[in-house]
Symmetry: C2
Subunit: 151 residues, 2 copies
């Protein structure tokens, strides 16, 4: 495995229409990753990858990210057991975003709250003209206190 | 309509389990938006929103973003006619990402290359142990030169 990707070409057509994987990492060295369930297409989470995380994800077939909160490489599911087996990786037009289609192991839960998806609240308008968040009724698939330990 | 959102609470439980919409905009004042087709769930694009773009999206039901390349508010489809009617807006656990479920008008194309989705290339391993990008066979739904003008 090479441990770096080639620099993005300055030629826009080559970047957008070419066959070369040249991720456009941002100033922090990251690209954004959208993660969906390969089965039903549900959006499970949004995360970030540095070059090493993307390289490891391609190489091992298990999703790796860069945790911005913990400032370290993060093999998804290393604590919870909810690993992500990657079935497909896609790049967007200007190669600064990655789409992962995955099968989740363990509890089939991706969110640290124990839910299947991190997107468990929708925006709804209130009678008073404002907005609020309404949670899905679906109960969590695991107890975070039990899986991660109480702080 | 108020033109600002409340600051995110310092209490993690309130941020993650509460009903208050308190987006966690980054240092550049942006949250990331994942956009899917409300019909079949296909991931169409990834973009960014500042407070005004999110507010306008909620208020008008049409997706607005902040264009980082053009450094200005961007009503999606203002040039191409491929607007996005928003059917649902979701927030992720820590409220720094938004999921929009949309119906695309016009050519039913979201990408500036004329394709339905920006994620039209998948990563595949090559016989030599490397990787390359393979484009979907689906032809573009519009001609960018015609829609945006050459250059």
């Amino acid at each position: 495995m090479t441990d770096t990707f080639s620099a993005p070409p300055s030629d826009k057509a080559r970047l957008e229409e070419g066959s070369e994987l040249t991720p456009r990492f941002d100033a922090a060295g990251l690209v954004t990753a959208v993660v969906t369930d390969a089965g039903d297409g549900a959006v499970l989470m949004l995360a970030h990858m540095n070059a090493e995380a993307l390289q490891l994800t391609i190489e091992t077939g298990l999703a790796h990210y860069w945790s911005r909160s913990r400032d370290r490489l993060w093999k998804k599911g290393e604590t919870s057991g909810n690993m992500q087996r990657v079935e497909e990786i896609r790049l967007d037009c200007d190669q600064d975003a990655v789409l992962l289609k995955v099968r989740v192991t363990g509890h089939d839960a991706t969110c640290h709250t124990g839910r299947r998806s991190c997107f468990y609240r929708r925006v709804e308008k209130t009678a008073g003209g404002g907005v609020h968040l309404v949670s899905d009724a679906e109960p969590p698939k695991f107890d975070p206190d039990q899986v991660y330990g109480k702080n």
